[in-house]
Symmetry: D3
């Protein structure tokens, strides 16, 4: 029995609120149970130096946690004067995943930055970030087409992310914090709508895991991601 | 006529949501119109080194803006590796103001940190921060008494803050961003329930202002603050 | 009775030494009693990026304290790797005040930086800085006209700053360190020659202060500033 | 045909030189073809604060590249004043992997730090680092037992790492730089001697990859890792 | 002919003002012609960690230049967030030299920090710093004896520093800025009263210099230092 | 008797390995006994801003030590976020020395950066760095001529560096770590092939040293440097 009473394959209630703030070109509050992340997409002209003149766009991401998003207060990174390794790792992951959802060669010389800021954390902040950021990105791209900045929408398809893991020797989907901190194996999977893999990161926190366990976790992830993508489409009023 | 159609002395609609996040000992989302600030109060044992052994507590504050809280994206301070002078100035102001609301000698050797994070900015983020932080602080102190950490509540009285200024030669109260960026004079006032002054910071952005203008602005501020404190009490179900 | 034997409204002896160092375009050592600040104005071509092409100039300021300007040694900010919030707050205040003394649209695309370095501190370093910086700025502007960099002098009028406060329930002017550290209320005022207000920053260190106390303090400040401006003019051989 | 003439499943020549420097408790130069990494293990008394008094040890790792380990010079991180996200990500991965090879509860209150410094880079620096670090760690632990610091050796078993990927639509093992920079999918796998997974990190650089491709890559990785562990044992004169 | 009309061996006018500021235990303004450095010695209890429990004291130094001490403004190190290599090099040199003047084993567990801040620069700021710092140190040590912190004065003897160099093929003593920036060889020498060498740092800026030139420069330095030490003693009213 | 059994004037065995890594334009591993430094020269187009348009080149250097190059582990500068004063001092010395070996006016608008990274330290890392860097620089310059980037080779002549010092009252050459840490006087000398001095840095760690001692040390240095330059030429197959 899981702490929340969920079955092994059950993900937490998902809520996606678009237009959460008024300034960003895409602004989404995503909730995976008690995990709440605000994903704001910003469109800016120009690309980083290493892409100049290549006639393509760029997508990047930044991640942060409000100091008291967590159970005990975490030191503010701005006050400390640097981002932790964990933060950098997560924002690099978000950015890579989002770039897989877009045809950068059709984006023009624009940069889209998606800021994922965790308002409240209860496990799975990076997977919620990616899943919410994809919707914010979609809104931003749609707006670019509407404004005439782009002729065609370079969005290639929805992506979403979920955490899976082995807790008390049982493979479970969408771990909340109490599960996450006790997991023997912890894996984050990012997939497309049709079950292809964009990123897989699995870590044995305790004992190494077997090939069979990997397969079980992947199957759980695939189902969970499929459900999240349904929620993304509903939030965007897309029927397909 | 003000952009929002308000009269000169009218403040924006105020909304105070308590228990906005689940981890913090005090968690308040305060809205002054489109300005939205999340104020989380954290209780921690111990005091800063310079206060050790003096048998008193401490209250401090940190301030931040989400990168896309503003109309165009602001660089993330954590990524830049330092807080701006503006941020430091604001968080010092918030902390000083909150300390004026509490009898630190009755707080025991505890430190309360109030994090004010701007989710959406439309002028007056520092005054909204102070006004919201006071409620979060109140909740945290009440909880300390309930938990038996303190015998008596060291809260001395409500404080609130408002911005006033001269815009187009007219003295107005609670400036929104478009007014703020065009103000000739900009003043932030923090007061107690009975109209005493905790802090006053007035700046002539354009021409110097006269003694009479200062008095007019102070009168506007006093009324605005009185209204905010009423909202604080309603949110806390205090009738007095 | 004040520690120095001064009356409540009496400011400390003021000494302004121009051409204190040989390199700066304006170089002033200002002394408010035992507080000594060296104010050096530097003229440089060009303006910050946000002003480029707007056909106006810029005035900025930096503030520092020698490590042993104070009674006990303060850590050197350059060694620590960052400026404190207090330093940033003060240098922003100095710069804002100086900009109020000059018509930036008549300054051409030049930047004047005024460095205020505290050689010895005994309270009121920020007000001495502003008052001395104004003279250094005047010298620099005069030199620009002489050198033909400017056709007309964009100086609009003298400004000066003073601290006032309530110490032992008495309102006093130009606090020295021992008073400052015991003040219930501490206020810094920057005014023009004709008593208009450029900046007012008042803080209740202990109890909040009343409207009447504010008025008393402002009156003290006005007189003190008037005296300082007389000294500025004498130092510059201006009779008006 | 691969650039080096290798078959798809063939790893590069591996060379492991122990006692490469004289000071470290374990010092290994590992070469995967032209990729050369120096792995130095340092034993120090004490554990990080979060582990104090828990009667267990800790293993951590740091990673660096000499500025001209790469084809064009990379800015020195020490001069830049911070480590890149890539560096932090890699050193966190190395450390996690090494901790999986040791029973920390049997390590006593010691910390072992393994420094992995890339002397020459040609792809696969993180996998070479992990594979070499494991040998340096083994030497350090053996020395601790010899010196009487530990009664039993807490080493649980060998681990090694390899990169696999899809290049020109072909799954290949142990990518060199030219392959790595053209890979559609890039995956790093860390396994134990008996083929259990410690860490898997797969990224679609171009198109998402299928479940079948994942399985193919995993099989390649398993074989490659098995070969590396044979080399580790030969270098250590272990016959099993 | 030198720019100042001095002969090759002639040093600039030296002026040593003690008790220049009121807070420091030793406070000396030293002037070598137009080079002016304020040297403040601070006594603090305790020693750095690496000396704890060794029953000896420590002497350290910090060096800084006011931004406009120079002909064109130099960026403030505190604002830049780090000290330059030049600054670090100089303050390490000052500290090493001062430690040679004191028997640290007789200093008790005290640390003396000498801050050398350049008010105005015209060449030779490091040699003026050392020469002035020695006097400030002497005053601080004398005060320690007077206050009963030390039983005997651990001062071993005066030291002073001078720059010598080859300018226009001529060996000269105590270079001012215009000479320094054109020197083919530049050498700083620190010596004791009896002509023994504490530190010698010679650099060929242009062509390498010969053994004979080195000897000539050393002889010039010896005479210059002897004169400076006379000034130190006069300032301290020491007749010997 | 010296720890290694060497005579006073004897330097340690020298080994110079060229083409140590494959990417750098010059790559030399130099060994002075157990001190091993990797010197990599990188050619890049362009010069620092202060040299732009002056039709000359620039040579710079960076220095680092692997954390476990030393007997006990030193904190990684990249992790600490800044280079120590010692590191900065050394890399400035290396760069100055190398510039003395090259006619910068004949280098074109190129910058050569020589990275000196200490793999293993046993005293004399800065002198080994300079001596090895000179060979790497030579290789890089030769390659520039071969590639047609330069018409004539701007190399002016070999330079090398050695440490000398007074240990147990005896003047010795090329100190290893155990000697260095006990030296009363420590001196680094950089000379040309014909015995001219490029740089001399002597420090009395304990008692000041006499003029005669200086001369003895210089004579030792001259012989040692002459031997090193012979090794440089042999490594480069130069007969002269």
């Amino acid at each position: 029995m899981r702490p929340s009473g969920r079955t092994a394959e059950q993900i937490r209630p998902i809520k996606i609120t678009r237009h959460y703030t008024k300034h960003a070109e895409g602004s989404v509050l995503i909730e995976f149970g008690d995990t709440k992340v605000l994903c704001n997409a910003t469109i800016e002209e120009g690309v980083p130096r290493f892409l100049k003149g290549q006639n393509q766009g760029w997508i990047t991401a930044e991640y942060g946690m409000l100091p008291r998003a967590t159970n005990t207060r975490t030191q503010r990174e701005a006050a400390k004067g640097k981002q932790t390794g964990r933060t950098m790792e997560i924002q690099r992951l978000i950015a890579r995943s989002l770039r897989a959802a877009v045809d950068l060669s059709q984006l023009g010389e624009f940069t889209i930055t998606v800021d994922c800021d965790v308002i409240q954390a209860d496990g799975g902040t990076r997977t919620a970030s990616i899943s919410g950021a994809c919707v914010a990105l979609y809104d931003a791209l749609t707006q670019m087409v509407k404004k005439g900045l782009l002729k065609t929408n370079p969005f290639k398809g929805f992506i979403a992310a979920i955490s899976v893991g082995i807790v008390n020797e049982q493979a479970v989907c969408d771990l909340e914090y109490i599960e996450d901190s006790n997991a023997e194996t912890d894996m984050n999977v990012i997939m497309t709508d049709d079950g292809k893999i964009i990123e897989i990161q699995g870590t044995a926190e305790g004992e190494p895991f077997s090939h069979e366990e990997l397969l079980t976790l992947l199957a759980l992830a695939k189902d969970g991601i499929s459900t999240i993508i349904k929620h993304q489409k509903i939030a965007l009023n897309i029927t397909s």
